[in-house]
């Protein structure tokens, strides 16, 4: 099993195969499943992601039980239809799909965790926008997920992917890095460029804390996925342009792990610090749970 981004990039060069292919082969070998079975499993994940994206922007949208989040994917959709956006329509499409997915998650709908439920919007934000922008086929989209997942495994094994141990940088940060690298492959970039995109995406979100208001995966989690997708696309474009991260990808992952360990407990998914600890954050908690913990 691959233990570093460096090994993956070297193998890709040596074997002249894209990262997605190496990860499919690794999965078949470790699970004992056939290529068709592994492929079908990933297709089901992609279908689940698409269903969540569509659900969150139908009609008036979806709303969480607390009423803290919901309906904003629809607002973005209408804004795109009626106004000239500042980021451009491509970026706004990614943001809309990312938010849509996490609104569905907050409303206890069905999502595919990528790598976590709190960060489930980041990859869909990227992959469905690329489907339109680059005309990706279903095969390319499934490959996108293998690449993202394979690189995510290295990140998860070295730095973890739980907000409670590593902060949001380990969740949305990881998702963004995985997505940046996979976007590079989808756009025809090399494995080396994927590793550059991954490194830059991590560097841009390093230190991001996990501070859910009232302990709910709503504020700020839903909108954090917008920056996850956006940062992935920015990092992928920089890598495709030939920009280089001075710090190699594997060292960025180690830095992410160390920063995570250094975060105080109040900023690791306890709902105590950061935005959760603001006067408004505390008021929301008291209102929802009837106490002022």
């Amino acid at each position: 099993m691959y233990d570093s981004i460096k090994e993956i990039v070297e193998d890709s060069k040596k074997q002249n195969k894209p990262i997605s292919e190496l990860i499919i082969e690794q999965e078949c070998k470790s699970s004992g499943l056939s290529r068709d079975e592994v492929w079908a499993k990933m297709k089901k994940n992609l279908d689940t992601m698409r269903a969540a994206v569509e659900k969150g922007q139908k009609g008036k949208g979806v709303f969480s039980k607390t009423g803290l989040t919901g309906g904003e994917a629809v607002k973005i959709k209408e804004y795109r239809e009626n106004k000239k956006t500042l980021c451009g329509d491509t970026m706004m499409e990614a943001i809309q799909d990312a938010i849509s997915t996490n609104e569905v998650n907050a409303s206890m709908g069905v999502v595919c965790a990528t790598p976590t439920a709190g960060s489930a919007g980041t990859l869909p934000g990227i992959v469905f926008m690329l489907e339109n922008r680059l005309g990706l086929s279903e095969e390319q989209m499934i490959r996108f997920l293998f690449t993202a997942g394979g690189l995510g495994m290295v990140m998860a094994n070295h730095a973890g992917i739980a907000g409670a141990t590593g902060g949001c940088q380990a969740e949305v940060g990881s998702a963004s890095a995985m997505g940046a690298a996979a976007a590079v492959e989808a756009a025809g970039g090399t494995a080396e460029q994927s590793s550059q995109a991954l490194a830059m995406a991590i560097a841009n979100l390093l230190g991001l804390v996990c501070d859910p208001v009232a302990g709910l995966v709503e504020v700020p989690c839903v909108k954090r996925n917008a920056i996850g997708s956006g940062n992935a696309l920015i990092s992928a474009d920089m890598a495709l342009a030939g920009c280089i991260s001075k710090i190699p990808a594997d060292e960025c992952i180690e830095a992410l792990a160390k920063v995570g360990h250094g975060l105080p407990e109040s900023l690791r998914e306890t709902g105590l610090g950061g935005l959760a600890g603001t006067p408004t954050g505390k008021r929301i908690r008291a209102k929802i749970f009837g106490d002022a913990e």
Binding site: S31, L33, N45, A120, G152, A164, L216
Partner: protein, 220 residues
């Protein structure tokens, strides 16, 4: 190493009911493991939460997730959010306690489940390490404490028969179909408890074949 993720589907997946993979999907998996170790749905369960679980279980739906897993529901089962009501209707009493201080098994997302039905008692200590993946770090079964390495799959077999000098048939079979990194044997009152930390995820067919061959084998 911070984690023990061995499949691309640990990262892309699981498909689940929201809102949190570590605080919802993970607890479903801890509940499922507890159900298997108890050998069905217990009558009475006290859940002790530590760390982030103690602080945020209500917001994350951790309570309904554990109740769902205890009843054998999957993470994407639409009944997950209603699981506590379903448990109550079936006469299953589940209580949740927010504990202060450090987790006894050293992870901020810890749940310790005390399960009983009359004289039968089982304790399971699990933690949710992120993305829906869990570890089971401590089990008290038939009064004996078991300490697996943590990551799943874990296979447990209670061996009640006379000793075999050349090992037991389960070990021979496991070596063939599910290579393990560690085997522990715990000498209990009426039996020997064999615990295997399995290297790779097991296919459904492998689990089924093991169960067909060794009825009471527990595959977490």
């Amino acid at each position: 190493m911070s984690g023990n993720y061995r499949s691309v589907f640990d990262i892309i997946g699981p498909i689940m009911i929201g809102p949190s993979s570590s605080h919802t999907a993970g607890p479903v998996a801890i509940g499922q493991a507890a159900n298997k170790l108890f050998g069905g749905v217990p009558k009475k369960v006290t859940v002790h939460y530590y760390g982030s679980f103690a602080q945020t279980h209500r917001g994350h739906g951790t309570d309904y997730a554990l109740a769902a897993g205890l009843q054998g529901f999957a993470a994407d089962d639409p009944r997950v959010p209603r699981a506590p009501m379903i448990a109550k209707d079936n006469g299953v009493d589940i209580r949740f306690v927010e504990e202060e201080g450090e987790s006894p098994i050293g992870h901020p997302n810890t749940a310790i489940l005390d399960m009983s039905n009359g004289d039968k008692k089982v304790q399971v200590s699990g933690c949710s390490i992120g993305g829906g993946a869990i570890e089971i770090r401590d089990i008290v079964l038939d009064g004996s404490e078991i300490k697996p390495s943590g990551p799943l799959p874990i296979v447990i077999y209670l061996y009640k028969e006379e000793k075999h000098e050349n090992g037991i048939p389960v070990t021979t079979e496991m070596e063939k179909v599910a290579p393990f990194s560690r085997k522990q044997v715990i000498r209990a009152k009426d039996e020997d408890i064999y615990v295997y930390d399995v290297k790779n995820y097991m296919r459904d067919e492998t689990v089924k074949a093991l169960k067909d061959k060794f009825g009471s084998i527990i595959c977490l």
